[in-house]
Amino acid sequence: MTSVPLAARHGVGAAEAAPTPAARTAGLRKAYGDTIAVDGVDLLVPEGAVLGMLGPNGSGKTTTIRMLLGLTAPTAGTVEVFGRPMPDAAAEVLPFVGALVEGPGFHPFLSGRENLLRCAMAEPLLPGRAGQRQLRLAVDDALERVGLGHAATRRYRGYSLGMKQRLGLAAALLVPRRMVVLDEPTNGLDPAGTREVRQVVAQLHAAGTTVVVSSHLLSEIEATCTHVAVMNRGSLVAQGELADLLDAGTPTLEVSTPDREAGLDALRAAGVAARAEPGGLLVELTGTDAPSAVATLVRAGVAVHEARRRRTGLEELFARLTEDER
């Protein structure tokens, strides 16, 4: 398996500009008995990036994240967070990392606020002399931030799946972090909740926080991320900036027109590759650009209703990266 072919072309250059990446793994491998969960992963999380980890179920996303956080010791390879080795430097690194891994974990008999208060009391960044009142303030802030203010006093037992997920997010956001790791943060959330998670990620990004989000929802990643890492069967098959990865395919112009035959003829006469699709034409922009392609069509008297650049789309990219090896 050729690992990170796209990273070589697109990702590394941009990342090299930043001196210390927020997190980096080298030759990361984790085996559970005979099962190899993760193998040869060289992941790079640039400081300040929003990195989306993408991959089918069982592709090793969560295992990689768990090793990033020092929850699982790698079988081989190294992990560095903020330039410090993990899990050895966990005590120095983890206070600055917020995480929601493998779903929210809370006690059913305590209310949402009590559960968060318990997290807050273990939180190193909330100052040692912080009175109960100050801890409560931090807790209430976090609850408001994820829209759980109204349910703060209800027992966790009675929370819906989405509310549980929000509480997990609140725990990760209790104090300002340098890096936030969210494993499937939108699981169980309704569309409104999904939008809110997106907003939270955008806020974190705007504040300069590095965010690592894993998701199987492609649209989620496409909407929120600056960087993407695609995993498949325990290996990292691509990583780099989202825009670069999306443009990696042939650039295409989508033209909607009723005169498809006339359009095709005109483009072929001009030496531009194109094909018909329902409702219009797909024009390949190799050796030409969008304005001249449109001009060619218009000069030939073809009615152009709409023309827009079509990106490869994460879905297509994902399918290409994860399916061509079967």
Binding site: G83, L94, P176
Partner: protein
């Protein structure tokens, strides 16, 4: 809020690694332990045992009074008649055999295995609470349950004994009478000793708790261990093994009812409990250090 922002701006810089105060962690742990409904129910039921015994003895009045010169539980019960201060000691000796270990191992089961099962252990490890510190904080929680269990039984036993049965001072098994104050001190002493034995059970249960994600396994293993110890103790062919069995010294509880009070059995029992605590905590720390979060 501003201070935390400053900290976030220059993370992992230099030696002063931020960490949550140990006292704050212990406070948080105790809040959690003492709020859990099942801990409260278990402790409450345990506290009712001496009351139940007292009421039963009062209602069935006149059981062979003074028949209990032998050691052990049932004979202690006989000594309770007309001698209220024997009740807390009898109640402790009865509950410490199975009921109290059940409550303590339940607390130990929830402490690590239960947290792992709920996914909350991960949160503590990510906070991060250091793994060794985590076990220590958990051990304090279990210890508090052990002390509360023994203390509650002693207190309700003492109250029930004084109210329902009464008696002026304590008539010892040796026939002498100890004044009320001294007798109460002796009850407190034996309660502390029982708490130490329960701490030993708790430490071993905590070690099991550190090795599994299933609280039920912890309770089952603890109970099986105690029952196994009972079986081993009944086999005289294995008497060379008896000194290392935790339950071997538990019969010494009745020693506080003698005059003068023999201390050797109690001290040996304390030492034995200390060994179990050390071994249990060491294993718990070792297991937690390598555990998957």
């Amino acid at each position: 809020m501003t201070t935390t922002v400053d900290l976030a701006a220059q993370p992992a810089a230099g030696p002063p690694v931020p960490r949550a105060g140990t006292l704050r962690l212990i406070r948080s742990e105790l809040r959690w332990v003492l709020r859990r409904p099942r801990t409260l129910v278990a402790l409450g039921l345990l506290a009712l045992v001496p009351v139940a015994i007292g009421v039963t003895l009062t209602l069935t009045d006149g059981i062979r009074a003074g028949g209990g010169a032998e050691r052990g539980g049932p004979s202690l019960l006989a000594a309770v008649a007309g001698n209220g201060l024997v009740l807390p000691v009898a109640a402790l000796s009865i509950t410490m055999v199975l009921l109290m270990p059940l409550v303590v191992s339940m607390a130990a089961a929830d402490a690590l295995a239960g947290e792992a099962a709920h996914g909350t252990l991960r949160g503590l490890l990510l906070a991060p609470v250091g793994r060794v510190r985590l076990v220590m904080v958990k051990a304090v929680g279990v210890l508090v349950v052990a002390v509360l269990a023994a203390g509650l039984v002693a207190v309700t036993g003492w109250l029930t004994g004084m109210v329902l049965i009464g008696g002026d001072g304590l008539v010892t098994l040796s026939g002498t009478t100890v004044p009320l104050g001294t007798a109460t001190l002796r009850v407190a002493l034996v309660a502390g000793w029982v708490a130490a034995q329960m701490a030993a059970v708790g430490a071993v249960a905590l070690a099991i708790s550190a090795a599994t994600d299933h609280p039920l396994v912890v309770m089952a293993a603890s109970m099986a261990g105690l029952i196994l110890f009972g079986v081993l103790r009944s086999l005289s062919a294995l008497d060379w093994l008896h000194p290392v069995l935790l339950t071997e010294g538990w019969i010494s509880v009745a020693d506080v009812l003698r005059d003068p009070m023999p201390t050797e059995g109690l001290l040996t029992g304390l030492l034995r409990a200390g060994c179990y605590v050390l071994i249990g905590l060491s294993v718990a720390v070792a297991r937690t250090a390598t555990r998957e979060g």
